[in-house]
C-alpha cells in the first residue's frame, strides 16, 4: 500500500467515524473532501474522465463537498480480480456482468442480486461489436462469413483474458448458429476456422487496437463500437467501420461495492454517482464517447452514428454469463477445443 493510500484510508476511517457519531451524512460532512474509486475496464478511460469531472461539479453544487474521483482501468477480468484481492473500489463499472458476479460470489463484497438494484440490468449504456477494416475495405469484408475466407487476417484479443474478446467470440458464434442449417457443431467449426485466421492474441482490447492500427497487422479488427469510433477519431481516414448483419448487445454493468463503501463511509456519494450515470448530463457524455445511451434524448442526439442492427443477447442466446463462461471459456471449453483441432 502506498503512502497516499494509507493517508486516504486514514481520512476515510476518520470520516466514517464522524458520520457514525453525527447523524445526517451531508450536514456532518459538508465542506470536507471525499474520495471515491471507480474500478473500470479498458476503453472507458476517456468517458469516465469526463463523467467524473461533471459529477464532482454536480456534487459540489448540491452538497458543498469537494470530491476526489479516482479511476482505475485495465482488462475487465483483471480488474475484478484486483477488487477480489483487496483493491478498495467504491464502485465497479466492468465490461460484463459475469466479472461483477465473481466479486459477489468469491469475495462477498456485494449481494448476489446486485444486477437488479439499478435500472436497465445495471447497465447505464450499451454497446455492440463491429468490424474495423482498412480504408476502402480492400478485402471486401461485409459480414462474419467473410472472416473465415483464406487470406483474411482477423485481429481479436484472447477471450480468456479480455471481456471485449468474449463479446466478439459470442457474436461470431451466434451468427454461425443462426445460419441456415446452423448447429453448435457447425458454429464450433466456424470459430475454429475464424481463429485460424487470427495471427496474434493480445490480452486486452487496447492491445489488439494497437496491433491493428499501429503495427499494421491484419485486415479486420473485431472491436467494441466505441473503440472503433475512437480509432477513427485518432487515426482519421485510415479505417472504415463495417456493421455485420448480426451482432450482440453488450451491456457493461455498474455496481456499488457494499462492503467497501461501508468501510469508507461513502455509500451516499457512491450511490449518487451510480444514479448520476443515468442522468441526462452523463447520458449525453456517454453518447459523445460513442457508447449507446439509454436516455432517449441522448440516443436521438447521437443516434445517427449508431446503426440499428439485429442483436442477440447473452441471456436470450446463451442462457446468461455463467452458462456461457462454463461452456465456452472455462478450461476444456469450446475455446480450448478449437485450438486442439
Amino acid at each position: 500500500m502506498s503512502i497516499d493510500e494509507i493517508l486516504n484510508r486514514r481520512r476515510l476511517i476518520a470520516t466514517a467515524a464522524a458520520v457514525a457519531v453525527v447523524p445526517g451524512w451531508a450536514s456532518a460532512e459538508s465542506g470536507k473532501s471525499l474520495t471515491l474509486l471507480n474500478v473500470s475496464y479498458d476503453p472507458t478511460r476517456e468517458l469516465y474522465k469526463d463523467v467524473n469531472a461533471a459529477f464532482a461539479a454536480y456534487w459540489k453544487s448540491r452538497t458543498g463537498q469537494t470530491l476526489t474521483l479516482n479511476q482505475s482501468h485495465g482488462g475487465s477480468g483483471k480488474q475484478a480480480r484486483a477488487v477480489i484481492d483487496g483493491l478498495e473500489a467504491d464502485v465497479v463499472t466492468l465490461a460484463l456482468a459475469y466479472d461483477i458476479d465473481e466479486i459477489a460470489t468469491r469475495a462477498k463484497l456485494l449481494p448476489a442480486n446486485w444486477q437488479s438494484r439499478l435500472r436497465n440490468n445495471s447497465a447505464p449504456y450499451t454497446s455492440t461489436i463491429v468490424f474495423l477494416v482498412r480504408k476502402g475495405n480492400p478485402k471486401g469484408i461485409r459480414d462474419w462469413g467473410d472472416l473465415v475466407k483464406p487470406g483474411v487476417q482477423v485481429i481479436t484479443p484472447n477471450p480468456k483474458t479480455s471481456g471485449g474478446a468474449r463479446w466478439n467470440y459470442l457474436a461470431a458464434y451466434a451468427w454461425a448458429l443462426k445460419q441456415p442449417g446452423g448447429t453448435p457443431a457447425k458454429a464450433e467449426a466456424y470459430l475454429s476456422a475464424l481463429f485460424k485466421n487470427v495471427p496474434v492474441l493480445d490480452t486486452g482490447a487496447r492491445g489488439s487496437t494497437t496491433t491493428f492500427a499501429e503495427r499494421g497487422l491484419g485486415d479486420v479488427l473485431l472491436a467494441w463500437e466505441n473503440e472503433a469510433y475512437l480509432s477513427l477519431e485518432e487515426f482519421g481516414p485510415k479505417f472504415d467501420i463495417v456493421y455485420p448483419s448480426l451482432s450482440i448487445l453488450a451491456e457493461p454493468t455498474a455496481a456499488l461495492v457494499d462492503k467497501n463503501v461501508q468501510r469508507h463511509g461513502t455509500r451516499v456519494v457512491a450511490t449518487g454517482y451510480l444514479n448520476f450515470l443515468y442522468s441526462p448530463l452523463a447520458q449525453d457524455l456517454i453518447g459523445k464517447h460513442h457508447f449507446r445511451p439509454r436516455d432517449p434524448k441522448a440516443l436521438a442526439k447521437y443516434g445517427a452514428k449508431f446503426r440499428k442492427l439485429p442483436m442477440v443477447t447473452i441471456d436470450g442466446e446463451f442462457g446468461g454469463w455463467r452458462k456461457a463462461q462454463a461452456a465456452h471459456f472455462a478450461d476444456g471449453g469450446v475455446f480450448d477445443r478449437i485450438y486442439r483441432r
Binding site: T161, L201, T203
Partner: protein, 255 residues
C-alpha cells in the same frame, strides 16, 4: 532472517496453494496440452537464448575490456540498458522493430522470415534481456586477467586460438557459466517484454508466465500456483545442475 522473510515466505505460499485441489487436480493441470506446451516453450527458448548469449556476451565483454575505441564508454553503458528499461517498453520497442512493418521486420519478411508473433520473436526478446547478465559477469574477470600470462603463452609459441582456449577460457569459464544461469533464470521468468512480441497463440507461442496470468484471470488460483510451482521446481533443478557444474569447474581450476 531477511532471506527467510523475503524469499522463503512467498515460496511457501506458492508451494501450499496448489494442494487445495488435491494431487489429482495438480496432475490434471500439469498434463493439460496448453500447460505442457507452454512449459516446453518457456524453458526451451530460454535455454536457447541463454546459450546464444554465451558467445555474444563473451565477445561484447572482450571488446569492451581489450579495445580502446571512441564511444566505448557509451557502449559500456548501453549494455546495462536492458536491466534498467521497463520490460514492457522493451517489448513494445522490439515489436515495433521486428513487426511486419518494422525497420527489420519488413526486410526479414521479404526473405520469408517472420520475426515477430511467433517463437522467433520470443527468442529475440529473451536474447535482448539476457545479454547484460553474461557481459557483466564476464567483464570483471577479463579485466583482472593477467595480460602477462597471455603474453608468456605467446612467447612460448601459442597460436591465438591456443591462447584463447588454454589461457583465457579456463579463467572465464566459471563466470560464463554463472552469467548463463542468470540469463536463463531471468528468461524463464520474463513476462513484460515477451507478451508483446510473442503473438500469444495457445500451444504455439504462449509462454508459461502468460498462462499463469490467464489462469488467474479465470479465478483459477490453484491452477496458476500449480504452473508456478512446476516452473519453480524445474528452474531450481536447472540452477542446481549449473551450480554443480561450477563446483566441478572450480575444483578442476585449482588442481
Amino acid at each position: 532472517m531477511w532471506l527467510g522473510l523475503v524469499v522463503v515466505l512467498p515460496l511457501t505460499a506458492l508451494v501450499l496453494r496448489p494442494w487445495e485441489v488435491g494431487l489429482s487436480g495438480i496432475w490434471s493441470t500439469l498434463t493439460e496440452d496448453r500447460v505442457l506446451a507452454a512449459l516446453r516453450l518457456s524453458f526451451g527458448v530460454s535455454l536457447l537464448a541463454a546459450l546464444t548469449n554465451i558467445p555474444l556476451g563473451l565477445m561484447t565483454a572482450w571488446t569492451l575490456t581489450r579495445y580502446e575505441f571512441p564511444g566505448r564508454r557509451v557502449i559500456d553503458a548501453l549494455v546495462d540498458l536492458p536491466f534498467a528499461l521497463p520490460t514492457a517498453v522493451a517489448g513494445i520497442a522490439l515489436t515495433a522493430i521486428y513487426g511486419p512493418t518494422g525497420v527489420l521486420g519488413e526486410p526479414l519478411a521479404k526473405l520469408g522470415i517472420k520475426a515477430a508473433y511467433n517463437p522467433i520473436g520470443i527468442y529475440i526478446a529473451l536474447l535482448f534481456i539476457g545479454l547484460p547478465f553474461v557481459v557483466r559477469t564476464v567483464q570483471p574477470v577479463l579485466q583482472d586477467l593477467d595480460r602477462e600470462v597471455e603474453e608468456a603463452a605467446q612467447t612460448l609459441g601459442a597460436t591465438n586460438l591456443q591462447r584463447f582456449r588454454l589461457v583465457v577460457l579456463p579463467a572465464v569459464l566459471p563466470a560464463l557459466v554463472s552469467g548463463f544461469s542468470l540469463a536463463f533464470a531471468r528468461a524463464v521468468g520474463e513476462y513484460g517484454s515477451v507478451i508483446f512480441i510473442a503473438g500469444n497463440m495457445p500451444l504455439k507461442s504462449e509462454i508459461a508466465p502468460l498462462l499463469i496470468v490467464i489462469k488467474l484471470e479465470q479465478y483459477d488460483y490453484a491452477g496458476a500456483a500449480t504452473v508456478g510451482l512446476a516452473m519453480l521446481l524445474i528452474s531450481f533443478g536447472a540452477l542446481l545442475a549449473v551450480n554443480g557444474l561450477q563446483l566441478v569447474l572450480a575444483r578442476r581450476g585449482r588442481a
